[in-house]
Symmetry: C3
Subunit: 207 residues, 3 copies
């Protein structure tokens, strides 16, 4: 119940992040609604298609599309005030990331898969929406380049799967994982944590 | 029967639009055939994968590939004369768009889904091929930025689903929807209709 | 057995090619692992999703991910020495291409499909991983532009399917196809064979 509410908040936040990036590139109203929806629901859709988990969430629950399309249009309308909301937006986006990770693990758990694949399903749910958004905006996906974004999804998913393995109350485990993942994301943003990155000029000959 | 003929014309037109964009980017013969085929059959393939509708059209009917590959090669051969054909090309492309929309709705109707999802399946069939083409050509998809393209697909699909709901003869409904959608597209091109677009400098901080 | 060993070598080589391109674009450690894995396993995943072949290879065999992630990390560690290994790398990459083609055909053969679709499944397995890699790196896929890469996959797949049709020993046919395809790729690299490419300024009006 609570998880479902968090999920709806999460898809709204992700749709807004897609619409914001679309507006920065001069997309029209249809473009904003599509990129908002793909950002919000694309990660879960890729996960479902790779797992063979049918019907997809938004096909079984078309009302999700009302949330993502509504959030995209609302973003266009309130864009001039959005810069006051940057902090709120980052917090909601962080909540969305960890909620997506836990929900993605839950979907994969129903398939009786290797725990590593279950965690990976959570990571895909958390990060592939933003990856599709960046591909449609014609830029190298941010998640591949910097920030602890994917690492937070990995941590959250692994913690959640670990808690369930130690037979923590299944009503409690998602909340613990979401809380810890959210805190991790806040710390990573606050202290600018990042993974080592690489850029070797010596590899020029391979292009 | 007539719808099938229109479908074949549509995939030829879409394959040509893919091959033309590929030629503009210096692709080789394989690249032209692949991008032509992806443009023509990619929208329907994404729709089928998202719905879990197997086997995909071109896997059940490999002869569709002969049409798309043939059209791609023909485009390369007659490219020097293509600029005389720009108007014909735009008309056939418009016919393809509306035919794809109606056919996409028909596929989804067989799954007993929410009418909104049926219309959306039509829109995806109409526009996702061109979206994949643009991603492969490394540009922001045109359909997200301008033109009434997606709006025409939405109108055609909604009209078709509405006509069937009002129990119009199922042999007549697709022709009415295709005719009205085609006219809508022509008017949109003639009068340069477009949706509002957005580009807010205030959102810079969100990138 | 031998084919399985060649497959593992192939996914290591493809993961390295992905990680190398990711390093050239300054990706972080997560980015390298993801792009390496997508390059190695993406072609087979697209093939499986299009065919409806579940579960996907890496979901049934999560250990494949250890190979691709390990290869990506190893590439980052030994990058400064990679330029000495360019020839080895090209040879292993060529082996991977032809092995992927044969394996892709085998998967499709189990579905009792048209021989042309079987060959195409081989081509998709061989080239779509690199295509996804290039899309994520925000460049027009190399395979659409130059080199005999896709042509080698097509030749290998067609030869393999042809050999099986002439009832060559099924233990021998894959090795013959891999050997001939590998030789073809080496010759294509050595003599810079390429398909005709096209770039017509006359098509400007179609953009």
């Amino acid at each position: 119940m609570l998880l479902h509410t968090i999920y709806l908040i999460a898809i709204v936040a992700e749709a807004m992040s897609g619409a914001i990036m679309g507006m920065r590139r001069g997309m029209d109203l249809f473009g904003l609604c599509l990129i908002g929806t793909v950002t919000a629901l694309g990660g879960g859709s890729i996960r479902d298609v790779l797992l063979g988990h049918y019907p997809l969430g938004w096909i079984a629950h078309p009302e999700y599309l009302l949330f993502t399309i509504g959030a995209s249009i609302a973003t266009a309308l309130v864009a001039r005030f959005m810069h006051h909301l940057r902090t709120v937006f980052l917090l909601v986006d962080a909540l969305g990331l960890v909620a997506f990770s836990v929900i993605g693990c839950d979907v994969a758990r129903a398939f009786d898969l290797h725990p590593g694949i279950v965690v990976l399903a959570g990571v895909m749910t958390g990060v592939f929406g933003g990856l599709l958004r960046d591909v449609l905006c014609n830029q190298i996906p941010l998640v591949l380049q910097r920030e602890f974004y994917a690492t937070v999804a990995l941590f959250t998913g692994a913690l959640y799967v670990g808690l369930l393995r130690f037979e923590i109350d299944p009503a409690l485990a998602p909340l613990l994982a979401i809380g810890a993942g959210f805190l991790f994301r806040l710390l990573a943003m606050r202290f600018h944590w990042q993974l080592p990155s690489f850029n070797s000029d010596r590899l020029r000959g391979f292009d």
